[in-house]
């Protein structure tokens, strides 16, 4: 094991450094999954879905329920049930459109609507599942792969792999299909899209539904990584929007990069300087990025 120097009285060994990188990337993968839906709804569609973490939590509880009743893997459950979240997203957008967007009242009232959805979901989860912590049992949660001195905890590796596959898949979908390009176009110029014979409301509805489907999957990652209780979703509001803004509004690659940057910043700060500094460093990076590149890392 080679030593690189000292920080805070601690020897920086190669293994410590590389493990910090691995931990940061794995954490970033999870952050990407919880944020990519916001990147679609907020970044591309201009829908400030502040209730996104509530749908993540809903995904967690559904995964928990199926896991506890039938023993199925929570991530597999979330992928299988993602069409249900897609339909839920379609219905939610339809209500939002008819009640607010169509009337030009989406700015403040729309925001209040999503806040309401957040709290209603929370209360519903409390009524159905109670307030105690819930968790899932998986075959890999307590297993760590070791490569020399490098640790790969499967509790984080499995969500990371599925998350990266999901984000890359979304990026390919948005850039290589007609519908994907229509989604990219709808945020920029809905009128032009309409002139080309595409219904922007329908495009937004489907894209919003896609964002909610990603929330369901991210919920399964969350409950694999840590126990959940009904109000834990609020903790992710700031994070999801920070990742989205850091990466660049509406950029899927940007979301992935932003998530990795925040994950690595948190991991390095926790390892070498003290975990208390992690939020300050992460949000300091966000401020610096916005100062020098206001549109975010991959923003246009």
């Amino acid at each position: 094991m080679s030593f690189w120097g000292h920080v805070s009285g601690m020897e920086i060994s190669t293994s410590l450094l590389f493990n910090a990188i691995i931990a940061g990337l794995l954490l970033g993968g999870f952050y990407a999954a919880v944020s990519v839906g916001v990147s679609i709804s907020f970044g591309m569609l201009d829908v400030v879905n502040i209730a996104h973490p509530a749908f993540i939590l809903l995904g967690s509880y559904i995964a928990y329920y199926v896991n506890s009743q039938l023993g199925f893997d929570p991530i597999v459950v979330s992928l299988v049930l993602s069409p249900l979240f897609f339909l839920l997203g379609m219905a939610l957008y339809r209500v939002y459109y008819l009640c607010f967007e169509k009337r030009g009242q989406e700015a403040l009232r729309g925001l209040a609507f999503f806040f309401g959805i957040l709290f209603i979901t929370e209360v519903a989860l409390i009524l159905v599942f109670g307030v105690d912590y819930r968790t899932v049992q998986t075959v890999y949660a307590d297993t760590t792969l070791r490569l020399g001195e490098l640790d790969f905890p499967l509790r984080l590796v499995v969500p990371f792999l599925v998350s990266v596959a999901m984000v890359v898949g979304l990026q390919l979908y948005f850039t290589h299909t007609f519908f994907g390009r229509a989604v990219l176009a709808v945020a920029q110029d809905p009128l032009a899209l309409r002139l080309m014979g595409v219904n922007p409301v329908r495009v937004k509805e489907l894209a919003f539904a896609l964002s909610i489907a990603t929330a369901g999957v991210a919920g399964a990652f969350l409950i694999v990584i840590q126990p959940v209780q009904p109000s834990i979703g609020r903790e992710y509001i700031g994070l999801t929007f920070a990742v989205c803004v850091l990466g660049g509004m509406g950029s899927i690659w940007g979301t992935l990069l932003g998530a990795f940057v925040l994950g690595l910043a948190e991991s390095f700060t926790s390892t070498f300087f003290g975990p208390s500094w992690a939020p300050a460093v992460s949000f300091g990076l966000l401020l610096l990025t916005l100062a020098f590149r206001p549109s975010g890392l991959f923003g246009r």
């Binding site: 912590y133 640790d151 126990p227």
Partner: protein, 416 residues
């Protein structure tokens, strides 16, 4: 004979009706509090509420207090200290409650203290660690058995066990969350470390929203401490224990002040990952002979907890929530009124018989003697909750009168 029985029954019904009428004529005795019914500590808050409601129903079945039916007025503090001052102001000024007690935990008790002090109220605290060290309020009483020096008493058993090792440990790492509880627990651990001459090689806290604890545990591991004292709140406790397993944490002793392994949700979730850890508890089934009255309470509590979906074991907070109300009830009975000054004086002077045993309070409102159990978990297999109902999963290391065995070290070799 039959006529006598019928007459006796009629008399009984008449007496009950008279008592009921008397209760109905008196205004209810309102007890107000905030409680964590949502947020990170809601599981415990709800369990405490159930326990207090059982006490209320028991008391009302006996005719109430001072001939008045007991009613609760409570609000959800969302496990947020920021909500507490407004809750207690509303309870006192709008709801006009007769008495207040605290919600659950150090973080929500501390912000209620200035209001209790301003109104000169007798204030019972439910599991606040060393809250009165700064306030020094003579009408504050705390039901957690942390002893007269709570910060010290909290981790006394951990350090006693550690310093009994051969060879003696020389270094320690301290870690906790950026919350009031951790600050108090770590303060006590620092004092112990200084007293016994341990070198502190890591002493850091982490923000509440931390998701992955492996970087923190690797940083601790890099300092190669003999002992690791951790004082996190749930769900961080689960994250720390899981990450300790993932990074292959090596230390002679690990644990001390983790909040979470005491109740079923985390016991079952972590299961065998708890093996080898040393941590505090207030009751383990190994001591069921020493706590006979506690069994009576658990019989009442567990049936209701199962229906309400909260901690099905109830070893940790629920008995003490009930005991807190028993102390208040007995003090009011002795004083014969709700005079706050007399209540405080009475609680200071007397010993109280409760479900958790006899309680006497010291000058600062804490238990006169510490009764924090320090245990080492072992033999936990799988995640079944029922295994924790029976003896055999923990060795009690301290206090001496409850000791069932010695600590086994190092931690990493006793994990299975």
């Amino acid at each position: 004979m039959k006529l006598k029985v019928i007459l006796a029954r009629l008399l009984g019904v008449a007496l009950l009706a008279a008592a009921g009428t008397a209760l109905a004529q008196q205004p209810p005795l309102k007890i107000g509090f905030g409680m964590s019914l949502t947020g990170p500590l809601a599981g415990n808050g709800k369990a405490a509420l159930i326990s207090m409601e059982i006490w209320r129903d028991d008391v009302n079945a006996k005719g109430g207090i001072l001939g008045r039916r007991v009613e609760f007025v409570y609000y959800d503090d969302q496990t947020s200290p920021a909500t507490v001052p407004s809750i207690y102001t509303k309870l006192l000024d709008v709801d006009k409650v007769d008495l207040v007690v605290s919600g659950y935990g150090t973080n929500v008790i501390a912000p209620a203290m200035p209001i209790a002090m301003q109104r000169k109220l007798t204030f019972m605290g439910l599991f606040g660690l060393n809250v009165n060290s700064k306030f020094k309020y003579d009408r504050y009483f705390q039901i957690m058995p942390a002893g007269p020096e709570p910060a010290i008493g909290w981790s006394q058993g951990f350090f006693d066990a550690a310093m009994g090792l051969n060879p003696k440990p020389t270094t320690i790492a301290l870690v906790g969350a950026d919350v009031e509880y951790s600050a108090m627990a770590l303060e006590g651990a620092r004092a112990h470390a200084k007293r016994v001459g341990l070198k502190v090689v890591y002493d850091k806290t982490y923000p509440e929203k931390t998701v992955d604890f492996s970087p923190i545990l690797r940083a601790i591991q890099a300092t190669s401490p003999d002992l690791i004292f951790a004082a996190p709140y749930p769900p961080d406790s689960a994250g720390i224990v899981r990450s300790a397993n993932e990074v292959g944490l090596k230390a002679r002793m690990f644990g001390g002040g983790l909040v979470g392994p005491q109740f079923a949700a985390l016991k079952t979730q972590l299961g065998p990952l708890l093996n080898g850890m040393v941590n505090y508890e207030f009751y383990v089934p190994e001591l069921n002979r020493q706590f006979p009255s506690l069994q009576l309470f658990l019989a009442k509590y567990q049936g209701r907890a199962a229906k309400e979906g909260v901690d099905p074991l109830g070893f940790y907070l629920p008995p003490y929530a009930y005991a807190m109300m028993q102390v208040l009830e007995q003090a009011i009975a002795k004083v014969g009124s709700l005079d706050q000054e007399k209540l405080a004086a009475t609680i200071h002077k007397n010993e109280f018989e409760t479900f958790v045993g006899k309680i006497r309070f010291g000058q600062n409102g804490e238990w006169a003697a510490s009764r924090v159990l320090m245990v080492q978990y072992h033999g936990i297999v799988g995640n079944d909750v029922d295994q924790f109902r029976q003896p055999g999963k923990a060795t009690v290391l301290s206090p001496k009168e409850f000791r069932t065995g010695d600590v086994k070290t190092p931690f990493h070799e006793n994990r299975k």
